[in-house]
Symmetry: C2
Subunit: 257 residues, 2 copies
């Protein structure tokens, strides 16, 4: 059995804790967090065998997982005495080397957008792993295998690019959905009308590759429709429309507007 | 039984034909198209009772559906003699009035992204309907009900905005997925890693509303990460990154970069 403690009480910490609790391979010994209220919430969730503590009274465990905000990782890492434990962070954008004040360190990055409320379906979540030594990579792989069957070895450099790609795939695509919602609401059209299209867009991007499933006025270079669309839009969606239309037109080898 | 003929042999014509063939309410009498090869393909698909013809030898049917490109609708409409039939087009962006040279006209707009290959799951496709008269709207509703249980009355003005919203939800979101794919490929990261995130993004946009499920550096106003991301990008994705980050930051009430 591998003993683990988690530092952090946010979304990732919570989902890790739930999953670890179900595993016979892992004993989750403690969760550490500054916020007493958050600690209370997470304790309820993961049963009374888990002690909520602070950074000065860490237990001795095989693994310490820093599931804290990106900007806090280096600071928290500097504060803790790992006592030989393997220290991992869970961030997509922080280099593994942020933990290099410890003897043993690595990364366990679950690539999914976590919610406060919903329980994550771990079996579908790709987990990106990295470690400073080959033997620790094996241990990180074991921990990752408890979370998900989809394990990928990803270097710090690749992870940085992957995180940028995830911003496009998640945050930016989602903002396009938000703009669509705004337009619908402004013109009293039920946003529900677009639900099937949104699902189909994602499904096609996965099954046929996104660049092969593109359609629409920008791809066709249909200037008349494009200009008519631009006329209907407020300043901010208009700029997004213009930039993305130019990008699509350019991508598919047509002339820019 | 309502008799129908379709003008057009493209994706929408094809999917309409397949669905109509299954219905006892509708007899698909003819499909008209210029392109003999496309006619051959579609005839195979919808059985030998369907005659492929040209615009000068239209049969007499209750309904004529113009499933042709947006830019061809007015031209084709002007060319045909409807002989009292109800004439419908299937476009999201063309006003109903483009058909006003006929006595009876309306719109049957299925809001989904159709593929050449895949068979569309009609039961999930919202169908937007409009007609010049109340009695013809009832007929359009009957036709629409053969296609899908999801029928929405949408005016020409609303349909225009809906089409713009669909461009955001489909074309623009899909281009964000394409940019994500490009970044992955450039850095030899399997794009597969982002598949679950893409599906989750769409699912959350539908179940929790997109503006409520936004996350990421732009929404957090995390300048350090944003600048680090911008540094990694080529010119074109960089401009998209900048514009969408500003838009998100602004949308959630933070200061622009």
């Amino acid at each position: 059995v591998i003993t683990v403690q988690i530092i952090g009480t946010g979304k990732v910490a919570r989902q890790l804790a739930i999953r670890f609790r179900e595993s016979v391979l892992i004993t989750l010994k403690a969760i550490a967090g500054r916020d007493q209220h958050a600690c209370g919430n997470i304790r309820d969730l993961v049963s009374d065998t888990v002690i909520c503590t602070d950074l000065d009274s860490l237990l001795s465990t095989d693994i310490i997982i820093l599931a804290v905000t990106d900007t806090a990782i280096a600071t928290v890492s500097d504060k803790i005495d790992a006592r030989g434990a393997l220290v991992l962070h869970t961030s997509g954008s922080v280099p593994m080397a942020a933990l290099k004040n410890h003897k043993r360190y690595g990364v366990l990055y679950p690539l999914q957008s976590f919610s406060e409320s919903n329980r994550v379906d771990w079996d579908t979540v790709p987990v990106c792993i990295e470690a400073h030594t080959v033997s620790d990579l094996d241990i990180v792989r074991t921990i990752a295998s408890v979370l998900s069957p989809k394990i990928f070895e990803v270097t710090t450099a690749q992870r940085k690019h992957l995180h940028v790609a995830a911003v496009f795939a998640n945050n930016f695509a989602n903002h396009c959905f938000t703009m669509a919602q705004e337009i619908c609401e402004k013109h009293t059209i039920p946003f529900e009308l677009l639900h099937p299209l949104i699902l189909e867009t994602a499904t096609k991007a996965i099954t046929q590759e996104p660049d092969k499933s593109q359609t629409g006025p920008a791809m066709r270079g249909d200037k008349e429709i494009i200009l008519a669309h631009l006329e209907t839009l407020d300043t901010e969606p208009k700029e997004i429309y213009r930039v993305l239309t130019n990008a699509i037109t350019h991508y598919y080898g047509r002339k820019k507007l």
